[in-house]
């Protein structure tokens, strides 16, 4: 027998140990990204993993013959399971109900397989070393591998490669060990051809995964977002990205922040309550945009509202906010309420065909940063909105920042006025957005009456705060602008210019 072989097996102990710990760290990190509360996640993951290793070690005694070829097969399997773990976990995260099961399933499976490896190796090597030497050598390499893994994981792998690629890389490493062992012990193994081809195929699968990992979370995105990306998806209309840092969730659409879970209440309370509180008779409410269901959450606080229609272009968005547990916690299951009807349609086309009137209309579109969205801020669009506004009703439009983009804000105001509406502009401070603006609009013969009292339990809106919101200090005071029209989208130009100065 070749003398090099024991050394090779010891090196494989080292690799196996490194990979094993890496998979454990990946699972722990993913769990804390996706489920939050890192202390709980890490300790349960470590617990389950170590316990599973125990199970693996126990099972090892049932392997009687062909230990070397079993070792190789298990190596390949560890490589595949570990390598694809991060990808699969990311992909199933959308339906979070089953997420924990999948997560702990993966952790157990990896643990069992890794747990099998060391005992099997020791049995392979038992005839080549004395027992004391064997134990000392195997465990030395095992722990050195663990140290290496624990150091390179946070310092090198996560910042450079990211979770998904790291997993694939170590999966490949596992399979390479299997392949080398297989080639070196060719003579001692039955069916070495089969093992060789299995490992080569697995290696290729992992390599394909590694190369295409950017499809799951792109490197450029990870560099753009300071927080950890826990979900990303391209729908036909936009790129949805959810990030998390500590307990704070942020939603980005095409790179623009839509909300941050720690202060979104300021935005959504300001958007809804000054208008809806003034309409005690309001029954039918329309929300356009706002597929996150957060505006709807505020609307559902009014018992007099018995039907909310939400029109959002993107089914990808509304489905996410209907199914993901973490997001359902934020929107309080609003989109699942029987009062709420979700329509996935283009707002312009939908409203053109619409005849029934609404008491309160909330227009919560993304900022007018391009010509496609800009159409939804034109006089043509507002004319259509006005047509479906009940005579005593109110509409409210999110209108970007009157501080950063005063021309943009007052253009929305002017455009609303141009279709014969009376406007009531107001603003508040939302830490993650800055000073933000909204415009209420109503038929001129239906003056807006400031509510004297607001619902209990609101965190921001009150009679006093609304008084402040209605007041525009000099640095945000009205500027003369033009009307935003389909054939001259002045708003997009203003918006571009004004925000270019900031960003």
């Amino acid at each position: 027998m070749n003398r090099k072989l024991p050394a090779l097996l010891l090196i494989s102990v080292f690799v196996v140990a490194t990979c094993g710990l890496i998979y454990e760290l990946i699972a722990g990190t993913l769990a804390s990204y996706l489920l939050g509360d890192s202390v709980t996640q890490f300790s349960t993951i470590i617990g389950v993993y170590l316990f599973s290793m125990g199970i693996g070690s126990w099972i090892s005694k049932y392997f009687e013959k062909n230990i070397l070829s079993w070792f190789i097969q298990i190596e390949i399997l560890v490589g595949l399971v570990g390598g694809f773990s991060a990808t699969i976990l990311f992909l199933v995260f959308e339906s979070i109900a089953s997420f924990r099961m999948v997560l702990y399933g993966f952790v157990s499976l990896t643990g069992i397989l890794v747990g099998l490896e060391i005992p099997l190796l020791m049995r392979i090597l038992k005839d080549r070393y004395e027992f004391k030497d064997l134990v000392s050598k195997v465990f030395t390499f095992d722990y050195i591998g663990a140290l290496l893994a624990s150091l390179i994981f946070p310092l090198l792998l996560i910042p450079r490669l990211g979770l998904v690629k790291t997993a694939f890389m170590f999966g490949m490493l596992n399979v390479v060990v299997a392949l080398i062992v297989c080639l070196s012990f060719k003579k001692e193994i039955k069916a070495s051809k089969y093992l060789q081809s299995a490992s080569i195929l697995s290696l290729m699968a992992l390599l394909i995964g590694f190369v295409n990992a950017d499809l799951i979370t792109s490197l450029s995105e990870r560099q753009t977002y300071s927080d950890t990306i826990i979900y990303s998806k391209s729908t036909p209309y936009q790129r949805i990205i959810l990030t998390k840092r500590n307990r704070v969730l942020r939603l980005f659409l095409n790179g623009n922040l839509q909300f941050s879970s720690d202060d979104e209440y300021r935005y959504h309370e300001a958007l809804i309550h000054p208008g809806l509180q003034a309409l005690p008779f309001a029954k039918h409410v329309l929300v356009m945009g706002g597929g996150d269901g957060l505006a709807v959450r505020e609307i559902l606080k009014y018992p007099n509202v018995n039907a909310v229609t939400l029109v959002d272009l993107d089914k990808g968005m509304t489905s996410l906010f209907k199914s993901n547990k973490m997001l359902l916690d934020i929107n309080k299951n609003s989109l699942l309420s029987p009062k709420v009807k979700v329509i996935n349609a283009d707002a312009f086309s939908w409203i053109k065909a619409q005849h029934t009137k609404f008491d309160f209309i909330v227009i919560d579109f993304p900022d007018p940063s391009n010509y496609a969205v800009g159409k939804l801020y034109t006089n043509s669009f507002y004319k259509l909105v006005k047509n479906i506004l009940a005579p005593k009703g109110l509409m409210v439009v999110q209108s970007t920042s009157p501080y950063v983009a005063p021309k943009s804000f007052w253009t929305v105001n002017k455009t609303l006025e141009s279709v014969g509406l009376k406007t009531i502009p107001y603003h508040n401070y939302v830490p993650s957005f800055g000073e933000w603006g909204y415009i209420l609009a109503t038929e001129p013969d239906n003056p807006y009456k400031k509510p004297q009292q607001y619902l209990p339990g609101l965190k921001f809106v009150s009679r006093e705060s609304v008084n402040l919101m209605l007041f525009f200090p000099k640095d945000m005071s009205k500027v003369e602008t033009q009307i935003n029209k389909l054939n001259n989208q002045i708003l997009v130009k203003y918006f571009e210019d004004e925000w270019a100065n900031v960003l």
């Binding site: 036909p236 010509y371 159409k375 029209k485 054939n487």
Partner: protein, 550 residues
């Protein structure tokens, strides 16, 4: 001496004719041989259709020997040949005047002429004419029509308010120049100051001319052309080419000359050395229309281009339009009426239609054959029609480029085409990445007759060879995003107003009716091929018919 002149004349004609045939032979022969080779292996993996106006039925006109004998003889008060804009407009006018006894014959399967359009899953798209501009305020007939069709929704202080959905949506135009897409089509980005100055000077001249009236108090350049001033001083501009005029005026900037050349290609399908100065300036100085909600000269467009306007015209006329029917010959009847022999390609029946009046809303190159038995003392040779290639390109996404994003009209500096329009520009919906771009290529490198025959002999792969390289220059890497390209060849795309054409006596004569029975309505009789001219030509002919019939 006269004999010698005659001899010389006929020799030159002979030689000219010979060299013409030789050139045509060489060019088309070359193309066909190349085409045979290309059939074997295509460079691009792109498919689509290559089509054009129905030449099979059209050519029946030439060789009508194999037509079945006429089986039916029927009567109609007014017969209109051609359902392009001029024919439809004539019919509309008859109908508005209470006349219902008329019929429109169209050789294609559909009405519309140059305003024809196509539709696929992504969008409708034009196959020819694709926009009009805000109407000149004194053009009441046109304004009435625009009111009828809700293109003008109302008036504020007598100024029209145009339908917001039809005014071209922002962003309207961009030009790829010096490596970047700039806003608007007038070259600016990266231009030396002296070029910018010349462009400014020319535009100032155009504005001045726009507001200039001749000695008769009429605007020098107007739409319809017939309402322009008769002042000889300005009409003399028709006697020189636009190129010569610009030289005389001292315009040398290559950027300005490119832009003006682009304009001539865009509107007339020819370069500025083939266009009269009067026509060249008309493009810039005839549009004064104002709107409450748009700027002067604002453009109106639809996904299907002028196909939308055409549909508005055709809607109320559908029961009068007979498609797939070609008129082969027109003769005077012994009873003082007029008889048209028409052949229906679907039923394979030849009919004789006896009419009191006939409106030929067909181009003059067609009329030349239709009425060769009638005496019409005009010369058909100055009627030159520019051939065009239209490519409708379906993309799954448009590659990103530097500068201004996709607009309605997208032009690249110094390329053979006049750019492309985005047919989904007027869609209100958020669109995904799929696009249909309508790319316009005037075939103006050779004289029209040669270019036309060359165009007819090209196969699909050869058109790809012409179009794709330019697209790749405009958008590197675009080829792999192309799902489909459909080509459409207009052999006689539009009238080219050469030197001495618009204000020639010949054209005046061509507009004159024959025996108060045969009337003419086509934009080629105005000398420029735009919706407005065809629209007015139609009304004029209809008015003459109504007059003639008392």
């Amino acid at each position: 001496m006269s004999g010698q002149t005659f001899y010389k004349g006929s020799l030159t004609t002979y030689l000219k004719r010979r060299s013409f045939l030789l050139r045509v032979g060489l060019i088309t022969g070359g193309i066909i041989i190349n085409g045979c080779l290309r059939k074997i292996k295509s460079k691009y993996d792109i498919t689509g259709n290559l089509s054009g106006p129905n030449s099979k039925v059209g050519h029946l006109l030439r060789d009508k020997s194999n037509l079945p004998d006429p089986t039916v003889v029927r009567q109609v008060k007014t017969l209109i040949i051609g359902s392009g804009i001029s024919g439809l407009s004539a019919a509309r006018w008859l109908q508005k005047s209470g006349e219902e006894d008329f019929e429109i014959i169209e050789l294609e399967k559909h009405p519309g002429g140059n305003s024809h359009f196509g539709t696929n899953q992504v969008s409708s798209y034009p196959l020819g004419a694709h926009y009009i501009t805000v109407a000149n305020n004194e053009d009441e007939l046109l304004i009435d029509f625009l009111k009828e069709t809700n293109v003008i929704t109302h008036f504020e202080n007598e100024i029209p308010y145009y339908n917001d959905y039809f005014l071209t949506f922002d962003p309207e135009e961009r030009l790829l120049i010096n490596g970047e897409w700039q806003d608007g089509l007038i070259p600016d980005f990266g231009l030396p100051d002296k070029d910018k100055q010349q462009i400014k000077d020319f535009l100032a001249l155009a504005t001045k001319l726009k507001n200039t009236k001749g000695s008769d108090g009429k605007f020098v350049f107007n739409i319809p052309i017939s309402s322009s001033s008769t002042d000889q001083h300005y009409r003399d501009l028709d006697k020189i080419t636009f190129k010569k005029y610009l030289q005389e005026q001292g315009y040398t900037s290559k950027y300005l000359l490119w832009y003006l050349n682009y304009a001539c290609k865009d509107d007339y399908g020819q370069q500025l050395d083939k266009i009269s100065a009067w026509a060249g300036l008309h493009y810039f100085s005839s549009r004064r229309g104002t709107a409450v909600n748009a700027e002067q000269n604002a453009v109106l467009t639809w996904p299907e281009g002028n196909g939308w306007l055409m549909k508005q015209l055709a809607q109320k006329l559908s029961k009068h339009i007979k498609t797939s029917t070609v008129c082969c010959e027109i003769n005077y009847a012994t009873n003082g009426n007029i008889v048209a022999t028409v052949f229906n390609a679907l039923s394979n029946i030849t009919e004789k239609i006896e009419a009191k009046s006939i409106i030929l809303a067909s181009p003059q190159f067609v009329n030349n054959r239709l009425i060769k038995n009638l005496h019409r003392p005009i010369d058909y040779s100055p009627f030159n029609y520019s051939p065009w290639l239209i490519a409708n390109i379906t993309l799954n996404r448009l590659p990103q480029s530097k500068g201004r994003g996709l607009c309605w009209d997208n032009v690249a500096y110094d390329t053979p085409s006049v750019g492309y329009v985005n047919s989904a520009q007027q869609h209100l919906e958020m669109s995904d990445d799929k696009k249909v771009l309508t790319y316009y290529l005037p075939l103006c490198d050779f004289e029209p007759a040669v270019a036309r025959l060359a165009a007819y002999s090209r196969n699909y792969e050869q058109w790809l060879d012409i179009v794709i390289p330019e697209l790749e220059i405009i958008h590197p890497g675009i080829t792999q995003s192309i799902e489909k390209i459909d080509f459409w060849v207009w052999g006689h795309g539009m009238i080219a107003p050469g030197k001495d054409f618009i204000w020639s006596e010949n054209l005046e004569k061509a507009r004159t009716s024959l025996e108060d029975k045969v009337f003419f309505a086509h934009s080629d009789l105005s000398g420029i091929s735009i919706f407005e001219e065809a629209f007015h030509q139609g009304i004029n002919a209809a008015k003459q018919v109504l007059n003639a019939n008392g």
